[in-house]
Symmetry: C2
């Protein structure tokens, strides 16, 4: 793929590929064909597009040389969770090891912020992008592709574009391990607080929970599955809903640690003890849940390792090498601490 960037380039920093396509009166894929030197473009169209690219400061990016300072862009939707710092730590460490700087941005799910980020990315001639759990608009995906800046997605938020490598965690296996742990302690009524339905990771964790119940011959009770959005508030609300059922569960699996903390707070507020009155399992193993009260049993998601692998993958792409696999899942581990125990009155046989 051709590598094109607007280095510096005053006015060039203000115009997108989409805008160039508009001004040339052609489609974005046509601009892409011109950039990539393909023959299936008419000479007139080619000349018009090339003139616009030149005028707006797009030009072939020089091949990577030791004289240029490498930069990788790490893009979050929001920087509002201790979750983020684990990924930053992994990305910074791997990028630093490769002599590259890590530029951290948040685009707040706003298309204006995303487009401004793209302009800045072009101006600083970034070498690659690691995108965390947030969907870019298709036009920005296309622009990165045309610029020849490789993209890797960590923990995809939905169906990723087919040609983008993704790094995830083994969410299904993690959901199955969390639920299996509760089953092995003797729990039979196990509630689940899910993540947002639009995220694939939420669906995979829920399916792992279902698979574990099925494997133990327990019919799924849909009333035990309540929605959450990963924020502690939703864990509080979800646990409250479960406690108000006519026949509440004896254990709850929260699909994220912060929801587990909210659930524990809901139990504490009602004078219920963890794990004597209710077992709680989380998902993530954020650094602070080792110090929740009680220390949280959870599924460790290797966030820093996911960040490191994303960097190694994006660096391979900058050298025009292919990743080992377009879709990698790193293993999750159950970490048993003090928030889970056998249900009250249960004898392990």
């Amino acid at each position: 793929m051709g590598r094109v960037a607007a280095h510096g380039g005053g006015a060039g920093g203000r115009v997108t590929i989409t805008e160039i396509a508009r001004q040339a009166g052609v489609s974005v894929p046509t601009v892409s064909r011109v950039v990539n030197g393909r023959s299936d473009v008419s000479p007139g169209t080619r000349a018009r597009v090339e003139e616009l690219l030149r005028r707006h400061g797009y030009r072939k990016r020089p091949a990577a040389s030791p004289s240029r300072a490498a930069l990788l862009d790490l893009v979050f939707n929001d920087l509002d969770s201790p979750w983020a710092v684990e990924i930053i730590r992994g990305v910074e460490e791997a990028a630093h090891g490769a002599g590259a700087g890590t530029v951290v941005s948040a685009i707040h799910g706003r298309s204006g912020d995303a487009r401004e980020w793209m302009r800045n990315l072009r101006a600083r001639a970034s070498d690659g992008v690691v995108l965390v759990t947030s969907a870019l608009e298709p036009t920005l995906h296309e622009e990165l592709r045309i610029l020849g800046v490789p993209l890797v997605v960590v923990d995809p938020a939905g169906s990723p574009a087919l040609d983008v490598p993704t790094i995830g965690a083994a969410n299904w296996s993690g959901g199955m391990a969390a639920t299996g742990h509760l089953l092995s302690l003797g729990h039979r009524r196990i509630g689940m607080i899910t993540g947002p339905a639009r995220l694939l990771c939420s669906r995979a964790r829920l399916d792992g929970y279902r698979a574990a119940l099925e494997g133990s011959g327990i019919a799924l009770d849909e009333s035990l599955v309540v929605p959450g959005d990963f924020r502690p508030e939703s864990g509080f609300a979800g646990c409250t809903t479960l406690l108000e059922l006519p026949d509440p569960p004896t254990a709850v699996f929260a699909a994220g640690d912060r929801m587990a903390l909210g659930a524990i707070e809901a139990l504490r507020g009602r004078g219920l003890r963890v794990p004597q009155d209710m077992s709680v399992v989380g998902f993530d193993d954020l650094p602070e849940v080792r110090w929740s009260a009680p220390p949280l049993t959870t599924v460790r998601q290797p966030l820093a390792d996911m960040g490191k692998l994303a960097v190694r993958t994006v660096l391979r792409l900058t050298r025009d090498e292919q990743p080992d696999s377009p879709r990698v899942e790193l293993g999750t581990d159950l970490v048993v601490r003090a928030s889970t125990a056998a249900p009250a009155g249960h004898r392990l046989s």
Copy 2:
């Protein structure tokens, strides 16, 4: 001050100002005088230093122009605390608002990592540096000064160099507010778990605690002050020490939230309830302590705002403007939640 940078510059990226001074057989300040065009250097020395600067790829940095993509470097010692993400959030937001990218690095307190970071900073021609709670070696300070890259320190770890602006929090007032809150609830024996003695912020919080006690006419009992290092483990150990005193306190002020979480875990492990058996106050107001069990009373340190102000200050310096003050402290606020109450058996009169 002259602005000098090694843009790209193969071999130039590998040699420090100190090394240039060594090769020229002069002092680092002499190299600085040459760079800054001062007249108090002999012509022979000037020629020798200029030749070395040229050979190693140092050259006058072009004046900031709209065509160059601005970059700010945000440097941590370690990226291992949710504390970090709050500062990153503030810095990214302010930098983004000014059209600058934020390059995040960790130097792990290792001089090798710090020097490598400096080489990369030069190669990417960064516009300014925000340094968080970590002391740079004097030679690196000097190198930044010679490069003309402005530096602002957030929450200084010790006595900062006199010509570096620092952004801190009102640590003394915060320590006083935390202790005053416990006094107002009726506590008279109040323990404190301090931060590392080498950090100024630790000293200021401890002095605030002492001032509040003194203001209430309570003599300081030195056995109630135990050392910590901001990690939860040290809060656990410190609280354990306090509980083993012949006459333990009825409340404890931990100089950091993560130590407060460790203290709560030590209490829970002994079957003691918070706040019925012991009140606990933290310091920071990290996002997750709203969801600790119980929700933590703490002193809010405006970490994101401190990051924003650091960016505004460093940007002023890039324009050769002076900061409002070389040393700014942002206010802290007491946030009362559920981990504090009157001591057992106490009647508020």
